[in-house]
Symmetry: C2
Subunit: 280 residues, 2 copies
């Protein structure tokens, strides 16, 4: 029997004993000094391969921002496909597309992300309406994370608009739950920088629905609250993303060791926080 | 002196005597029958080159959906760069990204769209907040179109939510006007399928702000209302997008002639409707 995306997420988080998602968002301006003289495509590939190797024992998932790869031109797409293959199916591979378009176009994005680039899940935004999310609900084995409450300062402009269903982002969370009833493949993105948002999202979703949380680390969100409020009754269904604090932990020759150290420290800290909770 | 995006748009629409934007959204399943046995990348390139050649005399702009190209893998990005070069600066080249992300990532999208792929403008969505649009306001020569009211059935779910500034999409239009005050490079997307939305958008924007209108043709929006209500006082600042009705006008050996005929018919009909209006 094929696992649904939610069941597979749970299995991976359990097997890896980790809630850590490493954000592979390459920014050549921040690469280690030893990469400065290397051509950008080669530098990006070598750097990210090194980061994957260094963080592999501690990562349950990897997330790639499409925007960071488009700037490399066609090479960027080859690199995405290369990385998903290299990472393999023992970790979740998430394409951070924040895609949103009419259904017809969403189906093209789906095909590109899953069939061509080899990802397990994508992120989407809901601005064009609920029906535009439907193409991503249809395949139980592939996940979709809807941006409910983002981590940036401008997030409240739209996401906290009051509606009869509560602040708009909470209506989004409720709708994701509804859209996933049949295929158990939806999740939400909720930023760690907004106190209480993670708790409310978990309350609305119940168990099993994965919450992907950016904004811990460089963006300043509190880790302990995120873990305490974000896990489900089994102490899982939560992915905490960290990009810059791992990738750019050092610009010196020890960059890979520093990245490994930061991934180990962060996943360990998350597990310590989990250990203090009463879970099944 | 360098022209702002709005001034350049006006100059191009005037020089071309056209408001037609051809949507280059390749869907191999709908290609002419003669392309059926050709490998997909080659077929897509040959087909789109043929469409550009056939429609060139009648088009003021070309718009490409990123989603349709990602499915071709790395070849898709090369093809986008090839097409923008082939089309050249006498027509507007718009990348339909519907991008939205935190500022840092939006800058990567900007770099990819403008510097690497050679586009003049992009589309963006506002779900993550006003600040996320700012990276696109900074270069006066490159445009950004914010999806205010889309053409699909689900558009009202978010876009028509009531707010103190009116329905949410109207607050978006007002904000685009505000964000463009300094650099005159913003525009909006408003679907032809919602009666009155184009009129309200023009009323809120005044002259010069380009409105990009999808949904005429295959999606069923009314052309005459769109033209009458959408143009500014000079009878311009409006781009009417048509994709499927031009690209797939015929699947037979006459596909290029049929595309040319449809582009000529549509741009002619738009001009006839414009001629009946009192403009400066």
């Amino acid at each position: 029997m094929t696992l649904t995306f939610q069941a597979r997420t749970d299995r991976i988080l359990k097997a890896r004993n980790s809630l850590l998602c490493v954000g592979l968002d390459p920014d050549p301006a921040q690469f280690p000094r030893s990469f400065r003289s290397v051509p950008k495509p080669t530098a990006t590939k070598k750097f990210l391969e090194g980061i994957v190797r260094a963080t592999y024992p501690f990562a349950a998932a990897y997330k790639m921002q499409l925007g960071c790869y488009l700037g490399l031109g066609s090479y960027g797409l080859d690199l995405l496909a290369h990385l998903t293959k290299k990472i393999g199916p023992t970790r979740l591979r998430i394409l951070d597309l924040k895609a949103n378009d009419i259904g017809n176009t969403m189906r093209f994005y789906r095909q590109a992300a899953f069939d061509h680039l080899g990802f397990d899940a994508v992120t989407v935004t809901p601005w064009l309406g609920w029906e535009t999310l439907e193409p991503f609900t249809e395949d139980p084995t592939r996940g979709f994370f809807v941006i409910a409450h983002s981590s940036n300062p401008g997030a409240p402009d739209f996401q906290e608009i009051p509606t009869p269903r509560g602040p708009l982002w909470q209506a989004v969370v409720a709708e994701v739950k509804h859209l996933s009833q049949k295929h158990h493949n939806g999740g939400v993105v909720v930023g760690a920088t907004y106190a209480d948002a993670v708790r409310v999202a978990r309350h609305l979703l119940g168990n099993e629905f994965p919450i992907l949380v950016p904004g811990v680390g460089a963006q300043g969100g509190a880790l302990s609250t995120t873990v305490r409020e974000g896990v489900d009754a089994r102490g899982r269904a939560l992915l905490i993303n960290s990009s810059r604090s791992i990738l750019y932990a050092s610009r010196g020759p020890d960059w890979a060791a520093a990245a490994r150290g930061e991934a180990e420290r962060l996943s360990g800290q998350i597990n310590q926080l989990r250990a203090g909770l009463r879970t099944r």
